[in-house]
């Protein structure tokens, strides 16, 4: 059993479990599945200042932090105890080829060490991939009113038209970024 769990999981198994989190949260306490609001609740709790958008009763939403803390713990458990050490991730050959042309050399772990290390933090790479990328995520999800969890899973599962529009534009933004901006960024770095 453990051997099976230790292998990378099939998309259908993974998708099914994620889909079942929606009714699980509803049944456990009438909670709507989502993640990005946790950022907003931190702003509301710590840096609300005189900003009206953060003047709400954030204590009503602390369940979301407990949920997010679980994600951190679960990821730690999975990567520490439920993974085969040294097993390389399977990546589509075409994507490897494209990324190699961008100068990526590490294809062994989930994230390329070329990008994701502290040494890159105070560099153009770090500024774009961590700082700027993070700003886009925080600003964009809140303006959109939700992220992939809230809109693309909870919202679509609840047949919301607004969530369908949001999902289409999430994908559009991703396509533009991955096929136009990212190649451009790597060209600037090289």
């Amino acid at each position: 059993m453990l051997e099976i769990i230790k292998q990378p999981w099939h998309w259908a198994v993974s998708g099914t479990i994620i889909g079942l989190i929606v009714p699980l949260l509803l049944i456990l306490g009438n909670k709507k599945f989502g993640i990005s609001s946790s950022f907003r609740h931190i702003c509301a709790a710590c840096f609300s200042g005189d900003i009206k958008f953060f003047k709400y009763d954030w204590k009503k939403e602390i369940w979301n932090w407990f949920f997010v803390a679980g994600i951190v713990i679960g990821a730690f458990i999975a990567s520490t105890f439920l993974s085969n050490p040294g097993e390389a991730i399977q990546i589509a050959p075409k994507t490897i080829e494209t990324l190699k042309s961008f100068g990526i050399t590490d294809f062994n772990s989930l994230l390329p060490a070329d990008l994701f290390n502290w040494g890159n933090l105070i560099s153009f790479k770090g500024l774009i991939f961590f700082v700027f990328g993070g700003l886009l995520i925080g600003f964009g999800t809140r303006w959109a009113g939700g992220c992939t969890s809230g809109h693309s899973i909870m919202g679509l599962a609840n047949l919301q038209k607004a969530s369908l529009v949001a999902t289409i534009f999430f994908m559009a933004g991703g396509f533009i970024s991955a096929n136009i901006f990212i190649p451009l960024i790597f060209k600037l770095i090289q």
Binding site: I18, L135, N158, A162, G173, S177
Partner: protein, 168 residues
């Protein structure tokens, strides 16, 4: 003793729901440790994130370069299973384990679902993560992602600061 026995005004409730989907709709007031069950659900979610390699920067590049079906399979399956579940919950009028009726609300469309979504989508491809996977990447030991999370909190704050000046 409860953590929060503040009674919200209607205005406060509306503000809490502004630009937000994942809200707490329960009217019940419980001690804080009741929330630990959501941590358990989060642990399951975190394990799936890692085991399905959804938190991989490479998976996201594959998805947007259209070189792999994997992420479309994950999200598609999750939506179908979620939609069937929501349908059943509504159809049977299911209650939560505390006997509360499970409620759903419709979200009005606004322009944020175009502009904001485009901006988030760009960040998604660059960082290789949406908000959930960011936390899972940090938990997997990619500590530098903490910087991305702090930036996302900053981005959210900037949105809150300038919200009134943006089209909705």
């Amino acid at each position: 003793m409860t953590f929060n026995d503040h009674i919200e005004t209607q205005e406060e409730i509306e503000l809490r729901h502004q630009d937000t989907l994942c809200t707490n709709e329960s009217k019940l007031i419980h001690p804080w440790w009741y929330n630990l069950k959501y941590t358990l659900v989060g642990i399951i979610f975190g394990i799936v994130f890692v085991k399905a390699e959804i938190i991989s920067w490479f998976r996201i590049q594959e998805m947007f370069q259209l070189t792999s079906f994997f992420m479309y399979g994950v999200i598609g399956t999750a939506v179908v299973v979620g939609a069937i579940s929501v349908f059943i919950v509504k159809k049977l009028g299911l209650k939560s384990i505390y006997g509360e009726t499970i409620t759903f609300e419709d979200k009005e469309f606004n322009k944020g679902q175009i502009y904001g979504a485009l901006i988030f989508g760009m960040g998604w491809a660059i960082t290789g993560a949406c908000p959930g996977p960011l936390f899972a990447q940090a938990g997997s030991g990619y500590s530098v992602v903490i910087v991305t999370i702090l930036s996302a909190i900053t981005g959210t704050w900037i949105y809150g600061k300038f919200r009134d000046k943006l089209p909705h």
